[in-house]
């Protein structure tokens, strides 16, 4: 029983990280109707920003991790926002009127560029991410151990999701985002600057990816330039599972994928870790392609 509880907590912790990445996918899909394949690699860059930054920031606060960690998190989020906006300006913006397939291939190109460019810049071998969360055990009974990592991950992720929800539903730019996702043309007639909204969406999505990266790296401290591929793909599956374009769906999908993955690893075999998300994807696309919370869109001629 307590082993089950342990697995659920680990799953929620992993799932809330996936949820943060999935939110980026789903927002960009909602606005631009294409899958930003490079999102997982923006996540990877976020982890590396944290890796290079933390050793400089931690001494500034005299080794106080509670003060240093938020700084690392925020700078990494800012760095990734810049990266996301640059990618959009250089690679996606010139293609906005082109067929979807062109944009998709470009996104794959950007993704490969970040992965292999990362191998050149950061080196291909795994690196050990510095400790950012003070280690400690919150609950420790004979067979249930909850350490501070999972609590901090879950709390931070949920706080960020609440912040995102506030931005999207309670601010002017958020209203503009929803308007653009509903109808580009009508939104631009209402005086909304589409380019600004798209830039803002990339800022939100990329900074959430960076936050997810820092959290991920505190739980799985071995980081490398290809680390973004699988979390990225799984988060994408999470976004589809929840209904792409739907914020609550992305969060829910992330949690489901995280918990399922933890269960499969814990109870079946860790070698199936990377196949489980794809199996879920194929099933959901075959039986309910609009996702759990998505609305069905019929094809227009």
């Amino acid at each position: 029983m307590s082993e089950l509880l342990q697995q659920i907590i680990n799953g929620i912790s992993l799932g809330s990280i996936y949820a943060l990445i999935a939110l980026g996918y789903t927002m960009i899909y909602g606005i631009l109707r294409f899958i930003n394949f490079a999102h997982g690699d923006v996540f990877m860059v976020g982890a590396f920003i944290g890796y290079y930054l933390a050793p400089h920031v931690i001494p500034l606060f005299g080794g106080n991790l509670i003060l240093a960690a938020p700084i690392v998190l925020i700078v990494s989020m800012a760095g990734c926002s810049l990266l996301g906006v640059t990618i959009e300006k250089l690679a996606y913006r010139p293609l906005r009127a082109r067929p979807k397939l062109t944009v998709l291939i470009t996104a794959i190109g950007v993704s490969l560029f970040l992965e292999f460019g990362g191998q050149l810049v950061f080196g291909p071998d795994p690196k050990l991410f510095p400790q950012l969360i003070p280690s400690g055990t919150v609950v420790n009974t004979s067979n249930l151990v909850i350490n501070s990592n999972s609590i901090v991950v879950i709390v931070t992720a949920f706080a960020l999701m609440m912040l995102l929800r506030f931005i999207v539903y309670n601010t002017k730019i958020g209203t503009a985002m929803r308007a653009v996702s509903y109808n580009h043309y009508a939104a631009s007639l209402m005086g909304i600057n589409i380019d600004t909204v798209i830039t803002f969406t990339f800022i939100l999505g990329s900074s959430l990816a960076a936050a997810a990266a820092i959290l991920y790296a505190t739980v799985y401290p071995s980081i490398n330039p290809l680390m973004g591929i699988f979390p990225g793909l799984k988060a994408f599956v999470a976004a589809v599972l929840g209904g792409i374009g739907n914020l609550a769906g992305a969060a829910l999908g992330g949690l489901i994928i995280g918990v399922t993955e933890t269960f499969v690893v814990g109870y079946i075999s860790p070698t199936f870790r990377d196949a489980i998300a794809f199996s879920i994807l194929i099933l959901i696309l075959l039986f309910k392609p609009s996702g759990l919370l998505g609305r069905h869109e019929s094809e227009k001629v």
Binding site: T102, V110, F113, L285
Partner: protein, 317 residues
Amino acid sequence: MKLDKSIVFLISAFVISGLATTIENRLNPYYFQILIYIGIYIILASSLNIINGYAGQFSLGHAGFMAIGAYTSAVITSALHVSRGSVFSFPAFAIALLFGGIVASLFGLIVGIPSLRLKGDYLAITTLGFGEIIRVIVQNLDFLGAARGFTGIPKLTNSFWVFSTVALVIFVIYNLVNSTYGKAFLAVRDDEVAAEAVGISSTRVKVVAFVTGAFFAGIAGGLYAHFVTYINPMQFSFIKSFEIVVMVIIGGMGSLLGVILSATLLTILPEALRGVAQYRMVIYSLLLVIIMITRPQGLFVKRRSIKKNAAPQTELS
């Protein structure tokens, strides 16, 4: 019977590649290896071109089909204890390759079916996922060597097998594109709804494309396995699929000659530029982005007439 030009091409290619096997031992082994890789990559890229280029179903799982063909044929030749040079090896290898192709095309059928409901991004990521699932399954199958890999595959691949398959792929694509049946492929690619409206079964086109493409990818996998004599699941990861996709895109989706040229070029280039080998994938990916922005039709293809009523910038929904 009027002798078709393409049949003449096919038969002469068989004869020439057969003759080539007699002198291949005199060739520098390194150059020979590059030559074989060029052939295998032409098969892979051209077969992916059937799916991506002609039928317009963007697939990212080609390495998965290749893996199935490689493992199936390797299991057959190992089970039959085929050794190089025996009289028996010729028909045995033919059967092994054929079976590899057939099993791969069965999987092509399985992937083709979801593709009936998916398009664009979803199809791409589903096929990618499918390729990865195959890899993970192989990694868990002990009789295939699991993650350790499959060793002791007889070295049966020679220039005859590789280049007659190349000729066969070219033959099939050439005749497909110039047939009424092949025009249906292009129609589905360009506008599925309009194609359906004039009575083309888009379902059949997609499934046929996946089955044919997977068949040749499976054979290419078999040729590869019997050339390198050792295979492991990591050789067939999605990075391999990406490499093949890059070849198709740089050559020009739907261009027979363009894809052959780009497969040749992209196989030779990393060998010729050994010093910059580590930049290979970075250069590929940059090429991909730049080509998409400036020459989306591919490097070797002239731009087709520009569609006047191309998709509007803003989607009215």
